[in-house]
Symmetry: C2
């Protein structure tokens, strides 16, 4: 059972702490830059001990990746509730897009320096690890459910999940690296439509 779904004071407090730690990490990154704060700073700002930080997140990057990972988990859920007759890649695209809408702008409109920090963050291998962790498996499960395949035995759901994450990474990389004048949602729709057509060679530039 996912932590988000349970109730009770204890569970809610844990969730609050996790979110507080994640937010503190993001704030510190924006204030000081990615390399100018340590886990202890994050713990201090969230009002817990360093050891407690370790109980919640395996690394600074896990804390920074929390929001994104949360969104992808939500996307996996949403994928299950998309209409059954909807084409697979449309369902995947829409499931990925919806949590982006909800999230709004957590820290106000980003300044140029903030965008630069996010770009640096996304480029680090540690961040890539943090993003890969905890998300692929949820997607594999959801896709297996939807397509009636076996997540353990069949290659198919894992393949689709990997392709999905690969595509998402490409779009995110591109989004942060160039001027985000085009809305990410429309880029995502195009990309997944293109995948469902087999990614034919000459792109319409």
């Amino acid at each position: 059972m996912p932590e988000e779904a349970r109730s009770g004071l204890r569970e809610r407090k844990k969730l609050d702490t996790r979110k507080a730690l994640s937010d503190a990490a993001l704030e510190l990154m924006f204030e000081r830059g990615l390399d100018n704060f340590v886990r202890e700073d994050v713990a201090a700002r969230a009002g817990v001990s360093l050891r407690t930080f370790s109980n919640y997140f395996a690394s600074k990057y896990d804390a920074l990746a929390y929001r994104v990972n949360y969104r992808i988990r939500r996307s996996a859920e949403l994928l299950r509730s998309r209409p059954a007759e909807e084409p697979l890649w449309t369902a995947i695209a829409e499931a990925l897009i919806e949590p982006l809408r909800d999230d709004g702008v957590p820290f106000g409109r980003p300044t140029d320096e903030q965008i630069l920090e996010v770009r640096k963050l996304n480029a680090t291998p540690e961040m890539q690890v943090a993003l890969a962790r905890n998300t692929i498996e949820d997607l594999v499960e959801a896709i297996a459910d939807r397509t009636g395949t076996d997540p353990k035995a069949d290659l198919y759901p894992r393949l689709v999940a990997n392709v999905t994450v690969g595509a998402l990474n490409a779009v995110l990389n591109r989004y942060v690296q160039t001027d985000p004048s085009v809305a990410m949602s429309s880029v995502l729709r195009e990309v997944f439509a293109s995948i469902s057509e087999g990614l034919p060679p000459p792109p319409r530039t």
Copy 2:
């Protein structure tokens, strides 16, 4: 200029050291298990200092990923020399397959325990990242060349490269997770054919 292409005693020695470190890491993993050796052990076996290990590889996982990364770089080269009229995904599949043939069986036929170690290794996010690092860019360049797109400005080559790596990861995961009775090359051909058809939902089991 890639390190592999240069000559001279100095360059050759560096290459030898790199390979010795990578091999030592793989041997140690098979002998002791993934979690039962440290970078210092690897350095000792390769006959260099720990500090030198750090000069060659950023992490234990980078050392373990060296062979695979080397193969992928070779695949990127091979992709450029595939016939121009060949469909893109066929060219990619064949370019990925060829280096696998050359490599043979580096450590003899793997035992069950060795397969288990490789499985554990491939499952770690650290390894997934080590695999993607240093290779994606080469693939992006090669794909951009082949498709006449701009690796900086266009989303297309990055998208295809990410999808390729994602698919390769899925196959590698599957390969070590189940009995490798089917040759990897034929699985790769099927997978990329399937991608070029848009990955239609019901897989032929």
